[in-house]
Symmetry: C2
Subunit: 166 residues, 2 copies
Amino acid sequence: MASDAAHQTMPPAQQLGDDDVVELIELLYFAYRDFTSDPDALLAEFGFGRAHHRVVHFVGRNTGISVAELLDVLKITKQSLARVLRELVERGFVEQRTGDADRRKRLLHLTDEGRKLHQRLMAPQMARVREAIAHAGADSGPVMQQLLYGLVNAQDRDQVERIVTS
Amino acid sequence: MASDAAHQTMPPAQQLGDDDVVELIELLYFAYRDFTSDPDALLAEFGFGRAHHRVVHFVGRNTGISVAELLDVLKITKQSLARVLRELVERGFVEQRTGDADRRKRLLHLTDEGRKLHQRLMAPQMARVREAIAHAGADSGPVMQQLLYGLVNAQDRDQVERIVTS
DNA sequence: CAAAATATGTCAATATAGCTGACATAAACT
DNA sequence: AGTTTATGTCAGCTATATTGACATATTTTG
């Protein structure tokens, strides 16, 4: 991509050794493991799993999202989504409303209960991210943002940006 | 261009808004998803999964590790490890050597083939981490390290540090 | 030395979260 | 009217994890 042509704009500066990079790879594994542990514990109380979490989250963040759009964000099959979505609807966390303009569409919304669950799932992760940023220096937020974008597949960055910037 | 995807700049640090933190949470999800995609594809060629990856990785990084130690690092049950380990041994990627001092122990080593696989699994992740660091500024490596430590459960940080600093 | 603890392995049953393929229905578009 | 789109559903498969029970070899301890 054209973005990689800019290698000469930044001087190589301080080169990271292989050992440092491997340490970062392992840290990413442990960090992600713990990052997901709080929601996992809460979800278990409801008999839910990570799949439910992702649906609650992205429906919560994109009120009125269609099933197809949700599948595109989650990159899973509709058969995989079906079970999870049915459980969330049956238990009153998610609501399906027939589309107004296009009545084939089932637009997804969180119920009040769903919003409450969403908040409870996010709270510990927000605290954890804030703690990490405090740990790395108060100005490390934008660096974290850049780092994470850089880890995303280059060809997906634009889509991801559209998704995450509400 | 793609490299400009993240240029919706955040307020000059110190106080991150909730929206910024939520964005980081979502980015962490997408970043980790893509971070694991290259190894996943390679593993699939061998009929292996992430479980095999983790075993190859931690055995490769801790030559002579015992089964119990490996279980402690991975935090899975021995029954879960058994199948994966058996497959890796049968197909010649991992070797079990009876402990010298304690002959109950099975000390785990990578074979030459195992080391080759380990390198092939790490290569794309190392490239991705280096790219992310370049994307976030050449001096962002140490910040990334601090951020990731900060995401780990506080009570586990010492153990994680022991594991990742070879 | 006998007994207990440890390190590992194995069998069986279960859960979850994903997958592919095939087919069905309603609504919209051409 | 016929085709495409959006969604749902049935059936069967895989991978990865779990718990519980039990087996074996070896080391440690009383």
